[in-house]
Subunit: 367 residues, 4 copies
């Protein structure tokens, strides 16, 4: 049952509401003997943390993670790992008005319809704050990868903000960490900066974004066809992130426009290794990793919390105009970058263990 | 564990290879008392079946489904339902050459690397033939929906073949079943017909496609946040279909280009019911159905089996040129339409039961 | 995957080691709108808590439970419920010697062999302290039962300590809470008191026990055959409790000695209800509740931590004599009573939801 | 969700009713490259098959298993394995009378109450015939064990029929296959033969039995605490077998009567291996295998289908006298022996893979 859990063998469960006392994750199935400490997880949380610059919400929280179980003398013990992050800066007063009103684009109304009751403060469980728990769990997954598949390198970045895409010819890996947007194109980054400032201050608006996450060095053979395919699990993982509306692997939706001749990734044998002429497949064939970089893209819709008034209704059915004040990201896509990276790490760690369980991790030979 | 199973409470498991004696599905968790017979499932299989026209593979199989358990005197008994479809037209000789060679774009190489051994005949387990089992299981799901949520209506259709998209202004629901492509635009259908004939005969090529599946009349409240969200499960379901490379809900990837003001679906209270000003969300907010039509799109890559030679390698690492003769669909996307519908039915039936289990199906009130 | 989780739809995950900073449980799938607070759970933890009398370990801990998520304004919201109990009285120094030595009868050696690393302090994850997390989760389950099946009444008691069984003719429900042993027979309770005092002080020994848990008022129809049978899940639940070596339903192991004529529970129709002439079945037939009281018994082996020396080995293979000082229960069975009750509540709440999901909770009619 | 599935990573799903056209199992998660054929599974089914002697039901069925998927050129491929057994000797007419009447001790009434509808022919899904599917799946599990843990040897036998227990001093492994009862004591076997003849012909009665299953050569380290403990899973596995009412590991229920000094299995280091002074634990500590023989016992209640009249009710509530004619085992325990062995094999194969997945199968060192 996957209500608040994700993963097959390396499985995590998250809990917590935006304005409750804390949130966290329990990571189950982690192998023993993996180096783990708070200091090894914290950097990923810091990367996701709001309040770092003027382009994300000004909510200030240290998001300090505590490990409450499953680690002894610096390594995992194979038992369940409890991660806890306290909520220290919940200004519940800001949200008093949404107790009675359903914000358009948010989950207020659907939670109310489904559950009859909801923690409306800051969106409660449906808040993107839940992603902090994923990022913490993702930190554990990264340690598993570091121990068992050290070649894996996961990098996320933004490729589009609103209608402004990056220019691939300017793609620079080193640039990604130099700007506030995880943008690999310095020119686009500058444009986005100006655009976002205008959106926030003058237009009282927000904007969508597209994120790409690449995993290099993934060993071939990961993925459990038919219903635990690597791409299927990645699609589920990314679509579960708040505000995501689409997921692509390799060519993605553009595959519809291609012909078979163009789309085929030709195969070579080079220096005792499998090589490919291209990577339209995005590193996955038949739900199993090929050994090429795994490329996933996902679209994040614009924040629904904006200062421009939108029409909605109240609990009693009367009409209301909603203007969301509070503190909100004008482009939530920015903070979705480390979340997408975390989900990639979690899916890969899970499939590494699952594959080891079923096949023993032994690979078919060529040559 | 999801290796060959899908679903939470209404859960199905598929088995079978392209050229084995049979394939099938076991459907578990079906409610008791639901009318079910082979005659009620067969039409969906007929819709998916190859050999119906010149645009799909000429493999001729009746794909007759047999129900071996779980049904008594015309209704389900609440026990596991075994569905079996015999393979009657496997020409294994056609595939002898692929025992030693990995076809580009297919799962031949990844299955070999992962498992060390593979049933190479017709792609074995990785063949799209597996989707017949899903469509049969989907037939059971449709009966569950008919019994428990009779307002639900699921319709799939193709919106793009190669670079040729339908013209939305010509969209006609009635047209969908009138052509070979489940195309709602008669002009596009005619163009596709010519294009496909040329591709197959003259260009020795294949082409991708984009499918849209719409579920109308879905009650609000379905979906289990955070990791069993309705959209997350739909993404997983569609991405698990052979050759699918991208999945979109509502605005999908286009959401990246929108602003918050444009994207918000305003909410109204009309005649004692919730109404919306638009459906950018595609019927899902916070992973829970809103009551609006659920719209899912997915891209199917072009068939990798083409008559044009592509470079690859053999088991021993030596280079090979692959020309796939056999019988193949020039546009597998066509047959993905009923498969996408089946997956929609399976996900909705599952969430209907899951929601009933957790919440009792009681909805929060408005007004 | 059930590593640290239990349950189908109402599912809980536990974490925490005996001497870590805290332990807890995440309860997933709880219905919304169920009254819940720390005050409603705490009494069950108090019942299990050590240090209450001289017959249990003198470890003194308040075992105060905190609810960190999933509850808003006094009721559950349908989201995951995080329960946390701090460890406040861990005297790790007492356990320094077991870092290098494997205590006979404990899981020290098997954890070491399996994981290579272990938190040896107080048994770490294998300590019976984990059961506090179950009891907390069981408190949530009891609230679910109170809301959805208010007729259910769960009572656990001890029926045997060492070779001393209770005398059924003296069985008195009211007596159960009057003595330190949850013993329904006042004469046996007095004997046990003396016996245990002698065991602890003079014999430096410990002793096993047998617990019975009865659930009255359980509606018929709960249980998911074939592999989620109510008795199968109860067996799994009880056997997962530390030190349990056997589980019985109804006649239990004694059923082997019965004949079909003696064992049959004859069925009657009385005042518009199904009645039975006896309850050899223990309230479960074919894995489904009959409506009769569900009776489960389980045996708890004697505490392996005793002051009498036992032979064992050290990490380096050298022989060692183990005398466990620390603070230990001479009869852990006593504290297993509330744990057995909690597991019964958890299994019943789970099956109530699971049944509601699959069948809608509608029952077949008679008459 | 475990409705008709069992296992974590090596997972099987069964389907089929007593008098349907067939029954079967789908085995998922089997490693690739394991030798498998119908000839390798059939002997285990033959062992369970009824009609072999006068002490079991005279229903005559070949129970010939067919493998429909997952095997290619004599070895498993890592994909789902479909096993099918046709029902060839269903005399449905014998059971016409039970359509309207609930047989005491059977699941007729509980299935009716739960599902509202039931396949009453021969007990439908609740018939012990389902165990044929487990035995077939168990045959696959045995092949996995043979490939990955070849030291494992599983032996089941009966230790008690009615009130007649075997005499341990006469225990002879070789005797087990020499009599109709899998009885290791030749004297007891002779007594049982006479007793059963009298029960069936003169007393028109049936009798319970106790089975023991021992697994020798199991590597240490198998079992996934806390909720996938090896003993917990074995308890669930055995209790899911039709008519089982109790399960014991090692000392079982007798552990209640022991003291800590008596119960401790002292540990030695002998010739570079861990040795134990006794095996009260039955080969499992903390839910993890110790390397000692795993010993499980379970009690099977007497067949409820007897020629002696018992009182019951009809669908309409009117009283009825039930005399079950049909063909029935006077002691179903006999046929439970191979079923118990199969469940042991299934649990061990599953935990072997699960452990390999989580820990890599590497063991902690001693010495």
């Amino acid at each position: 049952m996957s209500l608040n859990s994700f993963g097959h063998l390396f499985r995590f469960t998250t809990w917590g509401e935006s304005h409750g006392p804390a949130l966290g994750a329990v990571v189950d199935g982690c192998p023993p003997g993996v180096p783990l400490s708070e200091a090894l997880i914290q950097p990923w949380l810091d990367k996701r943390r709001p309040g770092q610059n003027r382009n994300t919400t000004q909510r200030q929280e240290p998001d300090a993670v505590r490990i409450l179980s499953g680690v002894f003398e610096g390594v995992t013990t194979g038992t369940s790992i409890s991660l806890l992050i306290e909520n220290t800066d919940q200004r519940s007063k800001d949200y008093g008005d949404i107790a009675q009103t359903f914000r358009p684009g948010h989950a207020d109304l659907t939670y109310h319809l489904k559950y009859g009751v909801r923690d409306y403060r800051g969106g409660g469980r449906s808040s993107a704050r839940e992603t902090a728990a994923r990022v913490a769990a993702g930190g554990v997954a990264r340690q598993v990868l570091a121990a068992l598949a050290p070649t894996v390198r996961i990098t996320g970045y933004m490729v589009q903000m609103g209608e402004k895409r990056i220019d691939g010819s300017r793609f620079d890996w080193a640039e990604i960490t130099r700007n506030d947007f995880w943008c690999p194109d310095p020119v686009a980054a500058a444009e986005w900066e100006d655009y976002l400032a205008w959106l926030r201050k003058d237009d009282h608006n927000s904007v969508g974004a597209m994120i790409e996450v690449v995993a290099e060095g993934v060993p071939p053979g990961l993925g459990a066809p038919i219903y635990g395919k690597l791409d299927s699990d990645l699609a589920s993982a990314m679509m579960s992130i708040n505000a995501v509306k689409g997921v692509e692997i390799g060519e993605g939706m553009a595959a519809a426009a291609l012909t078979g001749r163009d789309n085929a990734d030709e195969i070579f044998w080079e220096n005792g290794r499998v090589g490919y002429g291209s990577n339209h497949a995005g590193g996955i064939l038949g739900g199993i990793s090929t050994g090429q970089p795994i490329t996933v893209r996902f679209a994040v819709k614009p924040t629904s919390s904006i200062l421009s008034p939108r029409r909605s209704i109240r609990l009693d059915g009367t009409p209301a105009e909603v203007v969301t004040k509070g503190r909100h990201d004008p482009c939530v896509g920015i903070r979705a970058v480390p979340v997408g990276e975390a989900m990639m790490a979690l899916v890969l760690a899970d499939h590494l263990l699952l594959d080891r369980g079923q096949t023993g991790g032994v690979r078919g030979r060529i040559g």
